[in-house]
Symmetry: C2
Subunit: 207 residues, 2 copies
């Protein structure tokens, strides 16, 4: 019979999926390793794989969990531009706190839950514009506006030094300019419904 | 002494760096493998490594060569907006012909030659705006405008179904809107000179 402290050392430390995702959030979505996370939690690498099938499955779950915290349902102001400004200021704060989240938001690979993050924004923008949210063409149009806002915010305005007021001012000028040029019709062949189907088809499962 | 055909089979087939890059261009910058390129050229994998040190070195050289073909010096019209429209229509054509080139242009990793592709655009935009092209602040400002144009073109308008006229109309509306809001000052802390230095420092060498 091994001495008590030996047995304690040999017993697997308990961990939860949430604790693993917390550790990934601290380490950063782009740079973490499974060994680093296991070491930070004081467990063996194999223990992590009891909860997630792969590093990518962990990354997708951590990205999805971080995005699920965004407040996408509230009005964020009077019109669709104010709404997208509010969402993108939240997105900027979230990506500033978690290295690699911006890349996940823009490029995936996505879990179906993350597609709902986009769908919620599309609902709100289409609603604010007075469009029929059940009409795929209206959703494609709202997608274009939301996508343009996020791409500009995370790329051009991604630096943490850019103050919120500047993000606000820039989105308030470029979004109406795009809307006025497109006048309700998405660029030819650019479709959220098509993209959404292809994303769902390609999406790897979480575990 | 081996029979003549045996000797011929054993002799390395000759290849050139340009032939390797041609093959990468056909296969696509994002999906090619060294074995696939070697096989397409009828040589052994090792022969490829006589010309390039790694897959990444090949990708960077192929991306750089494709971008070097862009016509960035010509006027492309009367003002900075027309200039950026002309450049980005060329960029769209080039990226449509070579899978993965868009990602290389937006994200690198870059060879120093590719930084010159950005510098040339900055020179032209600053010049069209009547700014002093030797002033780093003016170059930072021109960089913001050029970067916004390319990001929008390659992301929002990246689909080959979008006609040139639509790209033109959209850039003609959003670029002046951004310029009017920024009024000559880049977003706080966003700087081409700083980014350029960090890119040069991080840039892996070609071989």
């Amino acid at each position: 019979m091994a001495p008590p402290d030996e047995r304690r050392r040999g017993r697997p430390r308990s961990v939860t999926a949430d604790a693993i995702l917390d550790a990934v959030e601290s380490a950063g979505l782009d740079g973490f390793t499974v060994s680093g996370i296991a070491s930070a939690l004081g467990v063996r690498d194999g223990t992590i794989y009891n909860y997630f099938s792969s590093r990518q499955a962990i990354a997708m779950s951590a990205g999805t969990r971080a995005l699920a915290r965004l407040d996408l349902r509230s009005e964020h102001g009077d019109d669709w531009v104010d709404y997208l400004i509010g969402v993108n200021l939240e997105l900027r704060r979230a990506t500033a706190q978690m290295s690699g989240l911006s890349g996940y938001y823009l490029h995936g690979p996505y879990l179906p839950e993350t597609l709902q993050v986009f769908d919620l924004q599309i609902d709100q923008v289409a609603g604010h514009l007075g469009l029929d949210v059940t009409d795929p063409a209206a959703r494609d149009y709202a997608f274009i506006l939301a996508s343009f806002a996020s791409t500009t915010t995370l790329n051009l305005l991604g630096a943490p030094t850019v103050p919120d007021d500047q993000v606000r001012a820039i989105l308030r000028s470029i979004l109406p300019a795009l809307h006025s040029t497109l006048a309700g019709t998405p660029p030819t062949g650019v479709s959220w419904s098509a993209l959404r189907s292809s994303l769902l088809k390609d999406s790897p499962t979480a575990d």
